[in-house]
Assembly symmetry: C2
Homo-oligomer: 299 residues x 2
């Protein structure tokens, strides 16, 4: 794949992920049709596919082919999408729009939206455990990856972060709580995405440790950048109510530290992410490109 800019790289990778998701997910002609329509509606609602892209780039950094981890990469996107569907529910964040499109429950009803989230989460594990997609990779690597991803997505990770987030709305929170929310609600699954690619690729101890630090730093920078964009971005570009996080008293870095300091923190995290993987060779170049891009979006 000949790529000249990071935008082209990300677009090409997004296409690969979108095609694979379309192949892996049962069609809308399956019974009962409404659940497959609902699941596909949210999966193809225009996500950036940052988690699957990181997963594939991480496998490649260790010397494995991206095809080998493609189904695990897609499973990560399913888990991310399920979390968005449930987060948008009236009993949670109560959002009518996401990325310029009506949220799942506004189109299919709240009952189906709950079930579509449940189905996507479950399907992620079905996909990761498919032996016919494992190639010649040992089964125990997939078991390890399933274990890490479920830890990152559950009450010790993403769900835990969401619990603290919904229960903090409109309250004064301290820096420790802000950090807990971000490292758990978003950071844990991004870190797991990077680690998953590396583990399936058979990364050595030092490679895995380096990539984990990269994932930790880039993941938090990504969330801070998203918070900045939420405030600064334009409605047309992002397709959701700008400043909606702030208006509800959400715990965000810009709300806590201000825009300038948040931008400085994100830059510092990206510097760390880049230095975390200096020991890796040219095959890690896409990971470096993605890290720099996270910051470029916000300036």
């Amino acid at each position: 794949m000949k790529v000249t800019t990071v935008e082209e790289y990300l677009k090409a990778r997004k296409n690969i992920v979108d095609d694979a998701l379309d192949r892996y997910l049962p069609g809308e002609d399956n019974f009962p049709g409404v659940i497959f329509k609902s699941v596909r509606y949210s999966i193809f609602a225009g996500g950036k596919r940052i988690r699957p892209i990181l997963c594939m780039a991480s496998a490649e950094a260790v010397g494995e082919d991206r095809e080998t981890v493609l189904h695990v990469a897609c499973a990560l996107e399913m888990i991310h999408t399920y979390s968005l569907i449930h987060d948008d529910l009236p009993v949670m964040d109560d959002d009518d729009y996401r990325r310029g499109k009506l949220t799942n429950h506004k189109v299919f009803g709240e009952d189906i939206a709950v079930l579509a989230g449940d189905a996507l989460l479950t399907e992620a594990f079905r996909l990761m455990s498919k032996r016919e997609l494992a190639g010649n990779i040992p089964a125990d690597r997939f078991l390890t990856v399933i274990n890490e991803i479920s830890e990152a997505a559950g009450f010790l990770g993403m769900v835990g972060g969401q619990v603290v987030d919904v229960r903090s709305e409109g309250k004064e929170i301290d820096e420790k709580t802000l950090n807990y929310i971000h490292t758990h609600k978003t950071g844990a699954l991004i870190l797991a995405s990077v680690r998953a690619g590396a583990i399936i690729a058979g990364a050595g101890e030092y490679e895995l440790a380096a990539l984990s630090e990269y994932g930790r730093h880039a993941g938090l920078a990504f969330q801070i950048a998203d918070d900045i964009l939420d405030i600064e971005g334009e409605r047309e570009l992002l397709g959701k109510n700008i400043g909606s996080d702030k208006s509800r008293g959400k715990a965000t870095f810009p709300a806590f530290f201000g825009l300038e300091e948040s931008r400085r923190m994100a830059c510092e995290l990206i510097d760390k992410a880049l230095s975390d993987i200096t020991m890796l060779d040219g095959k890690a170049e896409p990971l470096r490109m993605i890290a720099r891009y996270i910051i470029e979006r916000t300036v």
Copy 2:
């Protein structure tokens, strides 16, 4: 374990499962406390543990120790419990009580109830993929079991059944739809419970086929028996509104075929379940005992 009656057997097995669930689930002192309280509230709300008991009995029928599959058995109960928490939500069945106790969302709020269900489903996969609990069983057996259980729980199984169930309420449905709901909403996970135990135990092709037929027949009989109990049982005994399924126009066997015919169908299914496993030796006796008990409850 010396047991004289099926009730004693089931009680002893339930205690084993309860103790294991208590060990496996993080304590309420973990942060954020509310999610661990919420998860534990529903897990320890008095379930019969029929899925884990079947999983262990199936492993034993093949000659494996029940301890080997205990964590998979508990994971099945977590998936069952998550489905109950989400089913009870106001946007789904809107139930205030289950087994005589307030439902999860009535105690912890709807946001936490959604997240508690999500957390339990995710935790089930974390538990099944724990390598330190795998003993000397090959990793690929666990991968197979995770794949089968996620298929049984997802949109091609339990979630699919629930979709058709909630979308059929108050409507005239045909026998095909009734069968779809029951084989998917309840039957699929019970079948997967029996198969999971057998697969981890290393069942041969014929044993697995026999146990699968047993699981299919006993699973459907169990659901019919539950429907009969829902109509006939006493409020004090079951702790939920008797006839509540019928009053909402739920698709049940007694509502469709009448009580007598439903009872006859359940008996016939149990006869089939028993004959499915005639080729298995005395180690399958608990499975036979459980099958007969399913019917005895309803007369």
